[in-house]
Amino acid sequence: MAVPKRKMSRSNTRSRRANWKATPTTLTTCPRCNAPRQPHIACPNCGTYNGRQYAEAERTEHQA
């Protein structure tokens, strides 16, 4: 099995990890309640998606 010949330097480790970046979540506004929601996902505030109601989608502030 191939194994590393040299210890990886802190610099190399850190410069590799420096490229792990988080991206902001895309958000749209709910057409019914104007709360922010993710596209293609039922609104966590009012539970509507495409005019239909999904109570399972509703999340409280605590759960979100």
Binding site: A42, Y54, Q63
Partner: protein, 240 residues
């Protein structure tokens, strides 16, 4: 080489996967809608639709093939006796998956998978649209002579709905009023008792609590959302 299964594998092995999927299908046919993870919902969909196709066939052989997957006779009876007749008009697309966001705990994306049991309405909608178009065209034809346009044949307006619509847009929109609408006032304020804004070019209406209500310049005003829908307008943002 056999075609690989679409989607992620579930469970600890092939037998476990079969069990999970059959349990999900049983629960779906018993309850009409179940909440599960997106991955499981996506695996369940083709299986459930195939079972419904068997149920629509309705004979004993089909029932036995379904029973090989869904072991619960009660669920299979419900599938054949109640669900299959509702799906008779539908050509596939028996289930609907709606994403409902991530689960607290493991952040797994969750979804609701449900049987689409409401009657097929696409054709009805088309018929309704056509009737509304005929009504509009007839109204235009009636209004055309009154607007001192003797050169224009009344029949010409009836000919095509598209012609009528383009006429309406060419004229001042206030002249060509849909049913139950009031024209916009010059200063943009609402006429007495009219609260719903109508946009002539997009054929959308905006209720006072709507997202785009404030920014909309109303060509028409309606008393209520029902009036606006009767005039062929649709709710703004309803498609989203």
């Amino acid at each position: 080489m056999p075609t690989p299964t679409k989607g992620p594998r579930v469970g600890g092995g092939p037998a476990h996967e079969r069990l999970i999927l059959s349990n999900l299908a049983t629960a779906l046919f018993e309850n009409d809608r179940i909440t599960t993870t997106e991955a499981k919902a996506k695996r369940l969909r083709p299986l459930a639709e195939r079972l419904i196709t068997f149920a629509k066939r309705g004979d004993l052989a089909a029932r036995r093939r379904v029973l090989a997957v869904v072991r619960d006779k009660g669920a299979v009876h419900r599938l054949f006796a109640e669900i299959a007749p509702d799906m008779a008009q539908r050509e596939g697309g028996y289930t609907r998956i709606t994403k409902i966001g991530a689960r607290k705990g493991d952040n797994a994306p969750m979804a609701v998978i449900e049987l689409v049991r409401e009657p097929l309405s696409a054709k009805k909608a088309t018929v309704k649209e056509a009737e509304a178009a005929t009504k509009r065209a007839a109204k235009d034809a009636a209004a055309a002579p009154a607007e001192a346009a003797p050169a224009e044949e009344p029949t010409a307006a009836v000919e095509a709905d598209e012609a009528a619509v383009s006429d309406a847009q060419a004229d001042a929109p206030a002249v060509d009023l849909p049913e139950g609408a009031a024209p916009a006032t010059t200063d943009g304020s609402a006429p007495e008792g009219y609260t719903v804004k109508g946009n002539a070019s997009s054929k959308l209406y905006h209720e006072p609590d709507g997202q785009w209500y404030d920014q909309t310049v109303a060509e028409f005003w309606f008393k209520s959302a029902e009036d606006a829908e009767a005039a062929g307008f649709t709710k703004a943002g309803a498609k989203d």
